[in-house]
Each structure stands twice: as structure tokens, then as C-alpha cells.
């Protein structure tokens, strides 16, 4: 049975972005119905022109930097392309950053409020990174 997996991705550190991307991509390609809600410090990485590298918060994050671990942005993209995951930017974070949907990278959207995200997430699993 497909599960509904909702991921709140809010940290801007490499480890948390990586883990969120791993869970999202593997769950999505395995047939689960995956929605990722990007807010707070995670959202800027999906604004056009922003650096793709996130700072490590600890030992593993530092180790990942020198390896061929798939980049988190690639995994999120594969979650959407290969597994139909939805990648939703938080409209509140967009307002604070003074950006519009056009400022975000392709595949990220539409801007979504917390009320509709939570209402769609009802009954499914909710994971926070």
C-alpha cells in the first residue's frame, strides 16, 4: 500500500537537507505519495542563483563534502521527476524573502500556505528535517 509521506524541510544545514532529500527520493520512487514543504533556512537553496552547497553542522556533513554522495538538489529533482513528488515552497517564507514564484527554480511550486499543506497532509506521515 502506498503511504502518504509529508516532509517539512526547514534546516539549511547539509546533513538535514541531504537526509530530507534521501527520504523524499527513495520514498517517491518506491511508489509513495511524497510532498515536501520547504520553509525557513531550507528555502533559499531553491531560489535561482543561490549557492547549491550548504554548510555542514557536524562530522558527517564535513565528510560528505569530499565524496560523490548525490547532491541534495539532484535527489529532490529525481524525487519529482522519477517519483512525482511535490516540492512546495512555503508562501510565508517567500513573503519574508520578498520573492515570487518566478524567482524559484523550475519544479518548485506552487507557493503553498501552511493551512493547505497541513490539510493535504492529514492522515499521512509527517517528517521534519
Amino acid at each position: 500500500m502506498p503511504q502518504r509521506i509529508n516532509i517539512v524541510c526547514m534546516s539549511g544545514t547539509r546533513e538535514k537537507l541531504q537526509m530530507a532529500a534521501m527520504v523524499a527520493s527513495v520514498a517517491a520512487v518506491t511508489g509513495d505519495d511524497v510532498t515536501v514543504f520547504f520553509s525557513m533556512n531550507a528555502l533559499p537553496y531553491f531560489v535561482k542563483g543561490h549557492a547549491a552547497e550548504a554548510p555542514a553542522e557536524g562530522e558527517l556533513g564535513a565528510l560528505i563534502a569530499g565524496t560523490s554522495v548525490p547532491p541534495f538538489k539532484q535527489l529532490f529533482r529525481q524525487a519529482a521527476e522519477l517519483g512525482d513528488a511535490k516540492l512546495l515552497p512555503c508562501s510565508m517564507a517567500m513573503d519574508v524573502m520578498k520573492i515570487t514564484a518566478e524567482d524559484l527554480e523550475p519544479g518548485i511550486g506552487p507557493p503553498t500556505g501552511l493551512t493547505s499543506f497541513l490539510s493535504d497532509a492529514e492522515g499521512g506521515q509527517l517528517l521534519t528535517f
Binding site: M22, S25, V29, T30, L82
Partner: protein, 76 residues
């Protein structure tokens, strides 16, 4: 029996090899055999788990040196 298409995902880490396999699987024809080369130990259990869940077929798993050769067949 047609030749297996080889996907070299050596040196990539989880879930890189699985994602490589899946993106090739999407483009393959039903009946095609794909051979994934991976140095990621997790692939040995993750690929069969994915194949089982999604409903394709495991053909064989073999380790040659440090490289795992994982053969799967697309069945739908």
C-alpha cells in the same frame, strides 16, 4: 536473450546507484535486462527491496572485487 544494458554507478553513495537504475528502468522496454555496477554496500539490499516493492524481477547479484553486479529485469 538480449544483452544486459550496463549502468556504472561505482563510487556513488546511497541512494545514487538506486536512482541511476530507476532512471534507466523508466526508459527501458519491458523484458530488458539491466546490470547495475555499484560499490555501495547498501545497493545489495536496497535494489532487491525496491524491485520487490515495485514488482520487477531480480536476475542475479554477484560481487567481483569491490564491485557489485546487480542484474534486474523490467517486467511491466
Amino acid at each position: 536473450m538480449n544483452q544486459a544494458k550496463v549502468i556504472d554507478a561505482c563510487n556513488s553513495f546511497c541512494p545514487g546507484p538506486l536512482m541511476e537504475l530507476i532512471s534507466h528502468m523508466k526508459r527501458a522496454q519491458v523484458g530488458d535486462t539491466l546490470e547495475l555496477l555499484s560499490t555501495d554496500q547498501g545497493s545489495v539490499t536496497d535494489v532487491p527491496a525496491w524491485i520487490r516493492k515495485v514488482g520487477h524481477e531480480m536476475v542475479s547479484t554477484e560481487q567481483v572485487g569491490k564491485v557489485w553486479h546487480i542484474k534486474v529485469r523490467k517486467v511491466k
